[in-house]
């Protein structure tokens, strides 16, 4: 018998991501991903000063504030052909990288690890055995028997009071949970340590961005705050030295804990390398520019077709025609109407945001997300795309961390795990950790570049923009934690005439496109196992492996209970 499971919301209280799956004989046979909320920020921006857009767009999302600020100033600079000073470029790079590292650590430990880790099982663990296991994998200082015993005691007290707090509503005891009590205790301990470590990444964003959580230190043309080696209220050497110390702490944790845990947990779930493959057309953009014009980059990006690295086509500059011409958005299955009809897609410069809400129609319109495509095809975006592009482009750090991670998984699991395993639900987690290690190294490199350049006496941070009469068009792209983000702006006589944001989660959580081809979530959910329709943990595993982020735009507190999972005979 076929059953229909609706998970709404997947993420937050006012949940903007709804996922529906049809299950036959314990496997997903059909899936729909639906954005449940209209994001009409594009309409707010029309008519405004392009220099203000970044401050407004960073409010789109609570998790990804900085990324929208960055993409927005890049779009306006791109339209004006405005070069930014190298210091401003380095400061932006430091903000971008620290934000991404924060995001990846929090996503793995605090948002998705509990899909794989059974907290209640950790209560049965032997701290001495846990420590022996942990020390065989890593020389991290937080792996002592004493540390694990302390966490176990704390957890026992917590569970004893009947208040699991952060761990409430987990799928404890679910048949799909496979870790031993010791690995569960290890993961819970690192969950707590990650809470301590994430703050160093937050502090970097807040010192360089000059405010947190919403950064202030960005401007069209560079960054807003002056640099000085000694003065007050600016970025001083003293603050930069503190940043250096925090980079060291992040480096230790990411290399000796995060990368190791991903491999250790992954090794217990080998069957999940066979789940969630879905779309293997990947798209990412190069980022961490090494000059003020966006002509050279530290981390490569491009397109890969059908999972075949030999098809890699690089995206090379901020003006790359291959990227600019390739993106378009369809609304055939989205709650919008295009003036010229819904059977064809529109380039973002010509984009329209006119809502037309119907109801949830399985074969018709069912999402507030548009369906972005690259040369007519849906893409998968995110850290996996980033890692595969790095491998294809011969990016040495990516190759080093990816190879080491696959070798570590193989050695723990006792089976040979190759690159093909990365195209999967668990592979996306591994790729995120690999991407994060690359980012930590680059964070240190960007710090050196900034300090070197300041040492040469160059303290410039801002090139003022001028807006000529007439029309200019620009795209700002950014490889955000969840994948390629692009802002597209049309400026007319110094005012915004059109603005479109094509965000990473829109690529991945897209509804079917104008040719009825499913988006990445929808494709990756096919054939997912579902042991218990009332507890669709496996569906959440695959969706969470993308680090979904639609939900954060609304924050209303709701005291009325809402149902999360409904199961119906289909």
């Amino acid at each position: 018998m076929s059953q229909r499971i609706t998970i709404d919301p997947v993420t937050r209280i006012e949940g903007h991501l709804r996922v529906d799956v049809e299950v036959n004989d314990g496997r997903v046979s059909k899936a729909w991903a639906s954005g449940q909320m209209w994001r009409g920020v594009e309409n707010i921006l029309t008519g405004r000063d392009p220099r203000d857009a970044w401050a407004i767009t960073q409010r789109i999302c609570g998790v990804c504030t900085t990324v929208h600020a960055i993409a927005s100033v890049r779009a306006v600079e791109n339209a004006l052909n405005l070069e930014i000073p190298v210091n401003a470029n380095s400061i932006r790079n430091l903000i971008i990288l620290a934000h991404a590292i924060h995001d990846h650590i929090v996503h793995f430990y605090h948002l998705s690890a509990l899909d794989w880790v059974d907290v209640t099982s950790a209560l049965k663990a032997d701290p001495a055995k846990t420590s022996a296991l942990a020390e065989s994998l890593s020389n991290w200082s937080g792996n002592s028997k004493h540390e694990f015993a302390k966490v176990k005691e704390r957890l026992t007290g917590f569970v004893g009071t009947g208040q699991l707090g952060i761990f409430t509503n987990g799928y404890w005891g679910h048949p799909a949970m496979k870790l031993t009590p010791e690995v569960n205790l290890l993961a819970v301990s690192h969950y707590l340590q990650a809470l301590e470590v994430q703050r160093y990444a937050s502090k970097i964003v807040s010192v360089l961005g000059s405010k947190s959580p919403h950064i202030q230190n960005v401007a069209v043309g560079g960054v807003a705050n002056p640099l000085a080696l000694d003065a007050q209220s600016v970025l001083t050497m003293e603050r930069l030295l503190a940043v250096k110390e925090w980079i060291g702490k992040l480096d230790d944790f990411v290399k000796n804990v995060y990368l190791v845990d991903v491999a250790a947990i992954g090794a217990f779930y080998p069957e999940w390398t066979q789940v969630g493959r879905g779309i293997t057309d990947y798209l990412c953009v190069p980022d961490i520019p090494l000059d003020g014009k966006g002509e050279t980059f530290a981390i490569p990006g491009g397109h890969i077709a059908g999972g075949d690295l030999s098809t890699f086509k690089a995206i090379n500059t901020f003006h790359d025609k291959y990227f600019l011409d390739g993106v378009s958005e369809a609304v055939k299955h989205s709650w919008y109407d295009y003036k010229g009809g819904n059977d064809k897609s529109l380039h973002p410069y010509e984009g329209e945001t006119t809502p037309n809400y119907t109801d949830f129609q399985d074969e018709g319109k069912y999402s507030w997300l548009k369906s972005p495509t690259f040369y007519g095809k849906p893409m998968q975006v995110g850290p996996l795309a980033r890692v595969l592009a790095g491998l294809a482009a011969g990016h040495e750090p990516t190759a080093r961390y990816a190879t080491a991670t696959l070798e570590r998984v193989s050695s723990i699991a006792g089976i040979k795990v190759g690159l093909d395993a990365m195209h999967s639900t668990i592979g996306r987690h591994a790729a995120r950790a690999v991407a994060c290690a690359v980012q930590v190294d680059e964070l240190a490199a960007q710090w050196d570049r900034l300090v070197d350049n300041m040492g040469k006496g160059d303290l410039t941070t801002f090139n003022p923009p001028t807006f000529p009469k007439g029309e200019q068009r620009g795209v700002g792209f950014h490889e955000a934690p969840r994948g390629v983000l692009s802002h597209w702006v049309v400026i007319k006589d110094g005012k915004i005439d059109n603005y479109q944001c094509v965000v990473p989660t829109t690529w991945n959580a897209a509804p079917r496109n104008e040719h009825d081809a499913p988006g990445a979530y929808e494709a990756c959910l096919l054939d997912n196992p579902v042991a218990d329709p009332e507890q669709p943990l496996e569906v959440l595993r695959t969706v969470h492996s993308f680090d979904p982020c639609l939900a954060c735009a609304v924050h209303i507190l709701d005291t009325e209970h809402t149902e999360v999972v409904t199961v119906k005979a289909a």
């Binding site: 919301p9 997947v10 993420t11 937050r12 209280i13 949940g15 209209w38 994001r39 009409g40 920020v41 309409n43 707010i44 407004i56 409010r59 789109i60 999302c61 609570g62 998790v63 504030t65 924060h102 929090v106 605090h110 948002l111 998705s112 509990l114 917590f158 707090g165 952060i166 761990f167 409430t168 509503n169 987990g170 707590l192 809470l195 994430q198 703050r199 937050s202 502090k203 964003v205 807040s206 405010k211 947190s212 959580p213 919403h214 959440l540 969470h544 939900a551 954060c552 735009a553 609304v554 924050h555 209303i556 507190l557 709701d558 005291t559 009325e560 209970h561 809402t562 999360v564």
Partner: protein, 173 residues
């Protein structure tokens, strides 16, 4: 981010506004803290935070507080534009509406602070029931008209914890 670090600081208090200012009344919490910042002189040991829709980024600012005052848009089934003040026993129930282990929102930040023994000693929520959460950067008239009442509730919560709030207008006069 102006937190007192003096060891003799009498107490640590944070006023946190949350919500999305792109969705009209959803942003009322942020608008309220902007109003308090503009209208009152607060001691340096009071952190005023525009949290937007962020979560874990705020963890450090919310640790070991004596008092946390949260300004937010709330849905409690009351008439639109009502001002709601929740404190003491009402607050835990208010945050118990967690729906999955993956909602890293404000309720998760508070739960995390509990687990790490750094939870605020007291939490007061000053909420305003929305009229509209449509896209737009201004509040509806009814919610805008409720701002003075909500502002007074925040000031009263701060006063009751011994926080001096001097109106800037009175200073100038």
């Amino acid at each position: 981010m102006h937190t007192a670090s003096r060891p003799d600081a009498p107490r640590r208090v944070a006023l946190l506004g949350v919500g999305n200012i792109l969705l009209s009344d959803e942003g009322v919490g942020v608008r309220l803290v902007e109003r308090i910042e503009a209208g009152y002189r607060l001691p340096e040991w009071v952190t005023v935070l525009d949290g937007g829709t962020c979560a874990m980024e705020m963890l450090e600012d919310l640790e070991n507080l004596d008092l946390l005052v949260i300004a937010d848009c709330v849905r409690t089934g009351r008439p639109p534009a009502s001002v709601v003040v929740l404190q003491d026993d009402d607050v835990p129930a208010f945050f118990r509406t967690k729906l999955s282990p993956h909602q890293v929102g404000l309720s998760d930040v508070l739960a995390t602070l509990h687990f790490t023994d750094r939870a605020p000693r007291r939490v007061v929520v000053v909420g305003v029931q929305p009229v509209s959460v449509d896209t737009g950067m201004t509040l509806t008239q009814a919610v805008a008209a409720a701002l003075p009442e909500a502002e007074a509730a925040i000031v009263s919560a701060l006063h009751s914890a011994g926080v001096p709030c001097t109106p800037r207008r009175a200073e100038a006069a």
